[in-house]
Amino acid sequence: MPQRLITALVLVIVLLAAAVQAGCWDLRQAEDLGYVMATAVDRTPQGLVKLLVQVPNPRALAAGPRGGVTPGASISSKAFRNYEVVGRTIFDAIRAAAHQSPKRLFFAQNRTVIFSEDLARQGLGDVLDFFGRSVEIRRRLNRVFVAKGDVRKILNVPNPHGVCPALRIDNIVRWRGQTSHFAAVPLSKVLETLSLDGQEPFVGVIEAVANPTATPRVRKDLSMEPPLTITLTGAALFRQDRLVGFLNEPETRGLLWVLNEVRGGQLVVPGPGGKGQIAADIHGGQATIKPELTDGRIRMTVEISVVGDVAEAEGPFDLSKPEVAKEIDRLCAAAVRREVLAAVAKAQEVQSDVFGFGEAFRRRFPQEWKTIKDDWPEIFPGVEVLVKVDAEMIHHIGMISKSRAISVP
């Protein structure tokens, strides 16, 4: 019996030791990590990678013994820290950041990847490899943006209501359905479209603009309104991995219509009969691309059905009348169509098939695609695009049926 007991004891010790030996190598206490919330990549004139990572300071969250941030209260420590490092590659730069950061940089919580416009114009290919390869980067979670202007400025906008600019960006992305006026493309989608012949990648655009409500800098205090504010706007078009042009806000929604990515937004159209104007609240849309091949000419028919409601009716309309409703539907459909056509025109101009027309063609005509796929960038600008929009904008008309303009003559 003692012999068996000793054997059991030894076994337990060995197993425990094995578990400790095998397990603890990747043990890291939560507070020993620096959670990178945003990563920005630029290139120095010498061709080195310039990396800027944003790490929030959790302590700023827990100001005082009871925790919690009180906006306006004086926060002793800054809520975030930006580290800027230079390296020959991204990985090199990340490891170089260890000289500055007391915590190991941890990228699995990163949600925003920003490339400078210069870098994007030179081509993302080299730096994207890291983002495609690293096990810590979450490709579905990260949204890719191109920065207009200085990245440093964008990531340094103080945020009185949140932890750091990165989370602010994340929250703006979350509510993108309010307008659908900017693109927020997951990293996985960018990497996926890069590998396709019949579709080009596009990403969102991020910018720091002057804050009209900024308070003069009297105190070095976070309770003031910052001079700059972060905004997401439009989309950046790529050919292969190079930035070739931008879409403005309505054009961006035109692109998102085709890709079925519009979750909502506002649409302002002139009122029926040319009087007043109507603002519609888009609920969503459904688009299908139908490629056609007739006599060697490629034609894309995009059919979009849009559903929405009237949010505002400024003018003398009676929305309960079917002909008025029909007219509003027609006007909205025309507006959507204009957005799409504008986006197509811009994309064709820069030869960037962000719509995936080539992919649609390949699925419909796989044999023919093989012969034209190498020339697709040249063929794409000449492709005829037909847009058919079917809008149904009056689900319910709100709390009043008639506009004030007619009830009070």
Partner: protein, 547 residues
């Protein structure tokens, strides 16, 4: 005279047994002639003598100088015969002895000559007014009868004695079951007295098929144990197996049903209880109806019910006393709490030390913020807090009620608040540990809660060294163990594995009563249905349609 009798008795003893009785040395100072140790087997070999004096002397030998041993000699039938009543003073109800035996024999009894019955027979039929009597023929029966709080009557000229029920000592009154309180349902709990407990079961199950088998365990304690089952419902093989296992037990004392439980288990080292220990008569009765066997032990309110698997241990009688939706909700909550109380600290440790990517950013930052400055790694923090919690809990049980209150307040303040303010532990950990502690009280079987409490620690260590992989390994190990475990041959996970669809009506949720027609599939195999079909209630016209 007395010395002569003693010598005679000694001779008799020497002749009747082979074993040598060892006199204990050096006890002469109290004036005893000798001190002997009496073994039951030895006593059994000594038959009762027709000579009253011999019997009395023998018993006096056996009980030696015990001051509470009483021999009351008296004459009956107008001096026709001598008799003696032997009992232990404080074990018997004195008024009972005085009234049932002494008064009726000494004052009221007039033997009726004409019917020609021997005096002994006549006395038994006419004069002894005790309800339960038993005739005995040897000394062992007499001694045991006396020790079991009976009065034993001897008549001169008869080689038999009469054991008469006269039990009368202080008992705790029937009260609420302390460990299994219910909101709705009977509030009666078992007590320490076996007879009372048996009565309670009899009152629940008024069937002649309810069978009790009496047994005695403990060489010295001779604890009475009753095996209970319902004939025709229980699997006879199960009863045989229980009897077989019980027969093996030979220890000097049985003070609680756990003495038997540890000796009866299928898997002695398993941390999981393989029997239900309950204080509730209604629970025992319901389980007997499911085809289980109960073991009632004298001296403890905890009755063992077996075989029991995980499913049975998760069922509370209250599930059936409430409206079905509530019963189901509570049952679901209980299974959830079962998982939480086993895993929550481990998951917290694993996720915060190995898998930071799994948490939503804000939650993670929140945890990190509160952990900043905590000097211990999360595993140690968790272990420390769990140990502290267990200490407080144990202290709360042991301490006198009045002080317990104070200790729990101090404990809560010190552990919960001061430790956080001092930055020794993070508030999140306090929440995790406290919630885990609370969930462990949801288990209807206290034994099950204990096993979960114990298993929490190794799983926590696994989580701290191997992360989620460790947690999963631990859970797998537990599952493998559970899948192989049996309780009296019935698989521990019966219903789940092996799968029985009819049992599922009473596992995660409690189906309406009328759908639970069948008894548990692994039990009561020869009597499957507990109710008539189509009992679903409804308005009359529905019933017409069906008919």
């Amino acid at each position: 005279m007395r010395r002569r009798l003693t010598k005679k008795l000694m001779d008799l003893l020497a002749r009747s047994k082979k074993s040598v009785v060892q006199p204990v040395d050096g006890k002469q100072d109290l004036g005893r002639t000798e001190t002997r140790v009496w073994e039951p087997a030895e006593l059994e070999r000594i038959p009762l003598s027709p000579d009253l004096q011999v019997n009395i002397t023998r018993l006096k030998e056996v009980f030696d100088t015990n001051p509470d041993f009483i021999v009351r000699e008296f004459d009956i039938a107008g001096g026709r015969a001598r008799a003696a009543l032997v009992f232990i003073k404080d074990l018997v109800e004195r008024s009972l002895v005085g009234h049932n035996v002494l008064k009726s024999l000494m004052l009221d009894y007039r033997p009726r000559e004409p019917n020609g019955r021997p005096l002994w027979e006549d006395m038994k039929r006419v004069a002894v007014t005790a309800g339960t009597v038993k005739e005995i023929t040897n000394l062992r029966q007499a001694v045991e009868g006396i020790l079991e709080a009976n009065a034993v009557l001897f008549l001169d000229g008869e080689a038999t004695g009469l054991v008469m029920e006269a039990e009368g000592f202080e008992k705790r009154p029937v009260g609420q079951p302390e460990t299994e309180a219910v909101v709705r349902g009977p509030r009666e709990g078992f007590v320490e007295c076996l007879a009372v407990n048996i009565t309670m079961l009899r009152r629940w199950l008024k069937s002649p098929n309810l069978q009790f088998e009496n047994m005695f365990f403990g060489r010295v304690t001779r604890t009475r144990v009753a095996l209970a089952y319902i004939k025709g419902l229980v699997d006879p093989g199960l009863v045989d197996e229980v009897r077989r296992r019980l027969r093996r037990i030979d220890i000097d004392g049985v003070f609680e049903s756990n003495y038997l439980e540890t000796m009866l288990r299928d898997s002695p080292y398993s941390p999981f209880p393989q029997m239900i220990a309950t204080e509730r008569p209604d629970k025992v009765a319901a389980n007997l109806l499911d085809g289980r066997v109960a073991i009632l032990t004298e001296g403890t309110p905890f009755v063992l019910v077996l075989p029991a698997g995980l499913v049975a241990l998760m069922q509370s009688p209250e599930d059936y006393y409430h409206f079905g939706h509530l019963g189901s909700f509570i049952r679901l909550l209980r299974w959830m709490a079962f998982g939480i109380s086993l895993l929550l600290p481990s998951l917290y440790v694993a996720v915060t030390t190995f898998h930071q990517e799994m948490l939503p950013t804000r939650l993670l930052l929140n945890i990190v913020a509160s952990r900043e400055g905590v000097p211990l790694p999360a595993v140690l923090e968790a272990l420390l807090m769990e140990v502290a919690f267990e200490v407080l809990r144990e202290a709360g049980v042991r301490l006198p009620r009045a002080i317990g209150q104070a200790v729990s307040i101090v404990g809560v303040l010190v552990i919960g608040d001061a430790a956080v303010t001092a930055g020794l532990v993070s508030p999140q950990m306090v929440i995790v540990v406290a919630f885990t502690g609370i969930t462990s009280f949801l288990a209807p079987a206290f034994d099950l809660a204990i096993s979960i409490r114990l298993l929490r620690f190794p799983v926590m260590l696994m989580a701290g060294t191997l992360g989620l992989f460790g947690v999963i390994s631990g859970v797998l190990a537990i599952f493998i163990h559970l899948a192989g475990l049996r309780s009296f041959g019935v698989p521990y996970l019966a219903g789940l594995v092996p799968f029985h669809s009819t049992d599922w009506k009473d596992i995660l949720v409690r189906f309406p009563m009328w759908t639970m027609r069948r008894r548990p599939a692994e039990l009561a195999k020869q009597n499957r249905y507990r109710m008539a079909p189509n009992l679903k209630p409804g308005p009359a016209r529905d019933n017409h349609k069906k008919e």
